[in-house]
Amino acid sequence: MTILEITGLNKSFGGLQAVQDVGFGVEEHRIKAVIGPNGAGKTTLFNLISGTLPLDSGSVVFRGEEIQGMEPYRIAGRGLARTYQNIKLFPGMTALENVMVGRHTRSRAGFVAGMLNLPGTRGEEKRIREKSLEFLELLEIGHLADIEAGSLAFGQQRAVEFARALAAEPAMLLLDEPAAGLNMNETAEVGRLISKIRDLGITVLLVEHDMSLVMDISDEIVVLSFGQKIAEDLPAAIQQNREVIRIYLGDENA
């Protein structure tokens, strides 16, 4: 079953057409990767799907509902979580607190409940804390719970961001270059983690530069170049695709 279906997506900045008539679908419980050279419009595409940027035209259907034009928080509330290429954690908050914010869509206490701190609210707060710790444990960083997120090592920050996204128990996860800035060991670790996430029943759409990682874990691959989709296929087929080889390696190798 298709969980995300995008059709005819367009976005331009001034005169630059960053995303041009891009469309593809993502099957449930799969890992799909978006690859392409720098400036191909991958991150822009993510920002359009998650609602961070307004799109010019096109439609995004998530779990049978059109979500284009919605505020990001509404999209997140419908079960679409994301991470960022340049990690965006909440500064001044501990790793645990960051993940607890991730539980936002899974809890309800508002201003009045918060001010009065009713027993129900306390119970909910306790569950948020327990659940968030579980996600930290899942990423094997439970011991870092009380450390300020900003003071963690880069790889650990990435793990916290993962945990925060997972804490929402999303139906689908958008990962923007999850291996950026990581060494080979860490990258392999992230690969295993992404597969684990898929096995939890979460669909994954990722943008990634690291080809070995993409080829390893992806079920399907979309290739973008200059804002256009030029290929969509299984990893093995993409590796053989002449057009893809040309844009990655230059004309003479084609």
């Binding site: 998650s50 609602g51 961070t52 505020e71 990001p72 928080y73 999209i75 997140a76 509330g77 979580a81 994301r82 960022y84 965006k88 954690l89 909440f90 500064p91 001044g92 908050m93 645990l96 607190e97 607890m100 914010v101 991730g102 936002h104 869509t105 809890s107 309800r108 206490a109 508002g110 201003f111 409940a113 918060g114 001010m115 009065l116 701190n117 609210t121 909910e124 707060e125 306790k126 948020i128 804390r129 009380d146 925060r164 929402a168």
Partner: protein, 353 residues
Amino acid sequence: MKQFLPLAGLAVLLVCVQLLTQWTGTTYYLTQLTMSAYYSVVIIGLCLLMGYAGQISLGHAGFFAIGGYMSAMLTTRNLITFQDQDWMVLLDKIGFLAARQDLYGEAILSFQPWAAAIIAVGLAGVIAFIIGIPVLKLKGHYLAMATLGFGIIVFRVFLASEIFGEADGISEVPGFTLLPGVTVTGSFGARVSNYYIAWTLVVVAMVMLINLINSRVGRALRAIHGAEEAANATGIDTAGYKLKTFVLSAVMAAVAGVFLTHYNGGIGPSEAGVMKSVRYVALVAVGGMANIWGALSMGVILNFLSLRGFFGSYDDAVFGAILIVIMLFAPEGLLRLNLVAKFKKMFSGGSRK
């Protein structure tokens, strides 16, 4: 519950201060301590908005004044000439009106203080809501100027309106009987009870704000302050949370305005002035922005000194100088020690064991 320990300490301190003034025969200090308490309610509310939600407001004296002026106007305006009209009969039936006599024995029919307070605070909340929707879309300088502009408009309206007493303001505001025997009034005999009324309000406000800061909402606010885009993508309605915080802090300012106006027996346009708004911002800044204990302690100390006339004719200059010095040398606030975060840590550590 460890985050409430300092509040228990505060309660003990308050009683000690009261007893001390009794022994030393200096109960007149209680008057300024009472007034400082009401101003502190504005300041801790603004602290939530500035320090936690990260939104500056240079118009909070406006909300204080809306609360105070509306309440004063409704409880002093003589409506006796309208008493046979349908709407007056209706207001009377739901218990919104109170009849009394003024100093010269003339019959006065005006709003009951409770009713006036509800209307005044409600109005401040509604205005904050309506103003907040467009204003909070702005950032930085634009937000500062827009809230400053709002404050000046409120000031001008009160200053220019005959119904609000123009430059004289409104005086002879009656006491506000909260419960039988508990009346907010400036009369000499009620000095001690009013000291406790004011500080009870502060403590209640502190309890609610501390709860809020340590709740899901407080976490969301800090997330917005730290990384707004990521907070939104995590499912937090950033605009909605900012607006609700703005309204909450405006309502707190209005409540303080209502109480202080009944305590002082009147209100004048200077309460709505830009300098008041700037002063509130200064006190939040001195306390350390995201530190409601800092805001409370600085608010009480500096307002008390100011009300005692300690700064003489340099009152405003002192607050201007404080603003500059704090922002230049200690932008994190005078009390670097972030008590709230510390107690939160103690709390989180304690509950997991």
